[in-house]
Symmetry: C3
C-alpha cells in the first residue's frame, strides 16, 4: 500500500542527512528492492556485489554509501550508513499505522484495569484485573493480558498474544502474535517412585524497554525470582527463553534458538538460529553463537563459537571442513599401518592394528 | 466417530479403481491400522514388512499393491498406489466436516469486509476492514484475519490462527491453529552505539493455492517485496519461514525446520525436521535436506544433503559412521608415531609429535 | 505477590516433615533464592556448591538436606529431599489461584456442552458442541475447546489454548498458552505428478492424567489410531509431537524437542532440549537423549545417547572432545606419510598418498 504524495529526492536527502548527487527534483513514491523498483522508486545499493543488479534495475534513484561506486548516471543519495538510512526512509514512506485509540466494545476489560491515554484495545481482547496499560498502548484482537500485568507506554501488542498474570513489559516494545510471556517454567522435583512433582513457578517475566518478541516465542516466568529481558533486545520467532534467564540489553536471539533455565546473557550477545545454551551458564558481553550451535559451557566476553558442543568459531570451521574427510583419513591410517607392518623385519616385534 | 452405513468391498473397488480378489459383498464400516482393525474394517498393507502383522490382524479385508504377496485367504483390494488409495478411502469413510456456513453472532466482522457465498465464521473470530474471504471459506474460533487480507475459496482456517493485515492466502489452503502469517520479519539496522533500529517490514506474505501450514508455524512478511509460499507446498508444525523467502511449488517443510531471510527454494524441495537454511541461499528443484541439517551454501537441483554444515548425504553418512571412532583413530596415529620413532636409528633426524 | 501471614519455622518443619535445627519461632513470609532472600524468607541450599552464597545470603533460615554441612549458625530445616521440600514449601506459600468457578458471559458455550461442578470459563473462551468438562476444570480466556472434547477434572487450561474436536485430556493436567492439541498430522501421499494429496487424519489425541504441556507446543492427532501422551509426562515449550506417537508415562520432553510420527517412548524417557527422534522408532524405558541429539535408530531401555546421529553418550563425549583436533590429526597423518616416504629406499615400491 503506497502512501500519499511521496518525497522529492532533495527532501529525502535532507531528512536522511544524506548528500545528493544529480537532479533533486524527482518525486519518489516509495522504496523498493532493486528488482521491483520502477522509475518512481528509490532503491538501496548497500552492498557493492549488487552493482550489476543496480544497473539492470529500473529504479529512479539509488541510496548508497558515501564512497561506493555509482552504478550509472542516475541520481544518488549518499549516506554514511545505507542500511540505517534505509530503515529511516521506510519509516518516512510507511508511517506506522497502529489502529484506533479506542476500546472496542467486544473486548473484555476488568473494571479495575487502569488504562493510560489513547490506549487502543482491539475486538475480543481481554485485559485482566488490576492490569495497567501505559499511554498509547495497543492490544491486538484476541490477545489476553493477565491480571496485574503492567505494560509500558507505546508498546504494541499484536493479535493473539498471551501475557500471564503479573508480567511486566516496558515501553515501546513490540510483541508478535502467538507469543507467550509468563508461562510456567519447566520445573519438577522427581520423587523416588518416578513421579514428577510440579515446582510452583512463582517468579515473573520482566521485559525492559524497546524489546521485540517474535511470533510464537515463549518466555517462561521465573521459578523463584524473575526472568528478565534487557532493554533493546530483539527476539525472533519461535524462540524459547526458560525460567530465570537473564538476557542483557541489546541482545539478538534469532529464530528457533533456546536459552535454558538460569542462564545469563551479557550485553549485545547474539544467538543465531536454531542454537541453544544449556542451563546455569554465563554468556559474556558481545559473545556470538553461530547457527545450530549447542553451548554447554560459559562463554567469555567477545567469544565467537560454533559447533556441538560449542568451540571457537574458527576452530569449528577448520574441523568441520575436514569432517567429510574422515573416511579418507581412516583409510590413510590403515595404509600407514600396513606399510609399517610390511617393512617390519621377520623377527621384529610389532603392534598389530587393534581393529 | 464412525460414519453411517459403510461400503461393500465391491463398491470400494470401484471407487478406488482397484481390483477385487475374493468376496465383494462384505460391508466395511471403516479403515483401521492392522493392529486396531476388526472384521468390519479395511486395513492397508502398503509395506511387505508388515505381512506378518497382517496375518495377525483381525481386519476383514486388505488394501495392497498390485503385485504384493497376499497375507492369507482374506479378500483383497489391489491398487496401483496403496498409500494414495488409503488417502482416498479415508476421504470416503470420513467426508470432511467443516462446520456450518454461518456467521456466528459473537464473531466481529468489519462492516466493509467482503464475504463470498457460504462462508462460515466461528464464535469470537475477527475479520478486519476490507478483508475479502472467498466462497466456502471457514474461519475458526478465535482466529484473527487482519485488515485487507484476501483468502481464496474453500480455504480452511482453524481456531486461533493470526493473519496480519494485507496477507494473501490462496484457494483450498489449510491453516492450523496458532500459526501466524505476516508477522514482521527480523530486520534491524544496528547503530554504532549498539542500538538496533527497527527496519520497517512493509512487504506481504503471499500463500498460493493448496498450501497447508502446520500448528504454531510462523511466516514473516517481506521487508521490501513479499514472502511467497508456492502452490501445493505443505508446511508442518513449528516451522519458521523468514522475510522474503520464496518457497517454490510442491515443497515439504517438516516440523521445526527454518528458512532464513531471502532464501529461495525451487520446486519440490524437501527440508526435513529440525533442519535450517541460512539466508540469501538458493536450494534447487528437488533438493532434499535430511533431518537436523544446517545448509550454509546454495544447493544445486536434485542435491541430497545432511550434516552441519550440509554435505552430500552419502558423504555425510560415511563420515558420521566414523565419528565415534575418532578416539580410536587418534590412538592409532599415536601408535604409528611411536613405532616410527622407535625404529629411527640413533642419529637419524626425526620430527617429534607436536602434542 | 506475598500471601497472608506466613508460617513459623516450626510449622514449616511439621508440614514438610523436616527436622528443625535452631529457633523455631521465627515467622517466614516466603521462599526466595539465596540472592533475593531477606531475614523474613526461607532459602533453599540444595547443592553444597552454593554454601558460600548461602553464607552471603540474608535469608532468615535455610532448607537443606539431612547431612549437608550448615553454612553458619542460622536456623535450619533439614529434609530428606530438599528439592521436593522446596516444591511443597512453594505450594504452602503460594496456594494456587485458578480464577473463579464461573462461566463468564462473554464466553461461548455450545448448548449441549456438559460441564461438571465448579467449572470456570474465562472471558471470550469457546466450548464446542457435546464437549464434556470435568469438575473444577478451568478454561482460560480465548481458549477454544473443540466439539466432542473431553477434559478430566481439575485440569487447568490457560489462555489461548486450542483443542481440536475430539481431543481427550485427563485429570489434573495443565495446558499452557498457544499449545495446540489435535491438529492434523503431516500426512501426504505424493502422486507421480508431484502433487501431495492429503491423507485425512482421523485419529485423536489422548492425553492421560497429570500431564503438563508447555506454551506453544503442538501435539498432532493420529492418522489412523491415536496419539497418546502417558500419565505424568511433562512437556516443555515449543515441543512437537507428531501423529501416532505414543509417549509412555512419566516422560520428560524438553523445550524445542520433536518426536516424529509413530515413534513410541517407554516409561520415564527423557528427551532433552532441541533433540529429535525420527519416525517409527522405539525408545525404551528410561532412555535419556541428550540435548541437540538426533535419534535415527531404536534405543534399548536405559540407553543414554548424544550426537547426530545418536550414539552412546560417553562415546559421543569422547568423540566430540576430539572434533576440534581433526586438523591436527590430519597434519600428523601427513607427516607420518612423508616420513615413511622419506625413509623408503630408492628402489623400494611404495604407495603414494592418494590426495
Amino acid at each position: 500500500v503506497e502512501p500519499g504524495a511521496g518525497f522529492t529526492l532533495a527532501e529525502l536527502a535532507e531528512r536522511l542527512e544524506g548528500r545528493l548527487e544529480g537532479e533533486g527534483g524527482r518525486v519518489l513514491s516509495g522504496l523498493r528492492s532493486l528488482e521491483e523498483a520502477g522509475p518512481e522508486h528509490l532503491a538501496c545499493l548497500h552492498d557493492p556485489r549488487y552493482r550489476e543488479a543496480a544497473r539492470a534495475s529500473r529504479a529512479g534513484a539509488f541510496l548508497l554509501g558515501e564512497t561506493a561506486e555509482a552504478p550509472d548516471e542516475r541520481p544518488l543519495l549518499r549516506v554514511k550508513h545505507p542500511y540505517l538510512a534505509l530503515a529511516r526512509a521506510l519509516r518516512l514512506f510507511h508511517p506506522e499505522e497502529r489502529g484506533p485509540a479506542h476500546i472496542h466494545p467486544s473486548a473484555h476489560l476488568a473494571g479495575d484495569a487502569e488504562l493510560g491515554d489513547e490506549v487502543g484495545i482491539a475486538p475480543l481482547a481481554v485485559v485482566g484485573k488490576k492490569a495497567r496499560l501505559g499511554d498509547r498502548v495497543r492490544v491486538g484482537a484476541g490477545s489476553v493480558i493477565g491480571a496485574g500485568c503492567v505494560v509500558g507506554e507505546d508498546t504494541l501488542i499484536h493479535a493473539n498474544v498471551t501475557l500471564y498474570p503479573g508480567t511486566r513489559v516496558g515501553a515501546r516494545c513490540i510483541l508478535h502474535s502467538a507469543s507467550v510471556l509468563g508461562s510456567d517454567g519447566y520445573g519438577f522435583a522427581t520423587r523416588e517412585d518416578g513421579v514428577h512433582e510440579k515446582v510452583p513457578q512463582v517468579g515473573r517475566v520482566i521485559v525492559e524497554d524497546d524489546v521485540e518478541v517474535g511470533a510464537g516465542s515463549t518466555i517462561d516466568r521465573g521459578s523463584l525470582g524473575d526472568t528478565v529481558i534487557g532493554a533493546g533486545t530483539k527476539i525472533d520467532n519461535l524462540v524459547q527463553v526458560a525460567h530465570n534467564v537473564k538476557v542483557g540489553p541489546g541482545c539478538l536471539l534469532v529464530a528457533q534458538s533456546g536459552i535454558s533455565g538460569s542462564t545469563s546473557l551479557g550485553r549485545s550477545v547474539v544467538v543465531a538460529g536454531q542454537s541453544g545454551a544449556a542451563g546455569h551458564l554465563s554468556l559474556g558481553d558481545g559473545a556470538v553463537v553461530a547457527a545450530k550451535t549447542a553451548v554447554f559451557k560459559d562463554l567469555p566476553a567477545g567469544a565467537r563459537v560454533g559447533g556441538i558442543p560449542a568451540m571457537e568459531l574458527g576452530e569449528w570451521r577448520r574441523a568441520a571442513a575436514l569432517y567429510a574427510r574422515l573416511p579418507e583419513m581412516r583409510r590413510e591410517i590403515r595404509r600407514l599401518r600396513q606399510e609399517l607392518e610390511a617393512r617390519r623385519g621377520p623377527g621384529e616385534p610389532g603392534e598389530k592394528e587393534k581393529r
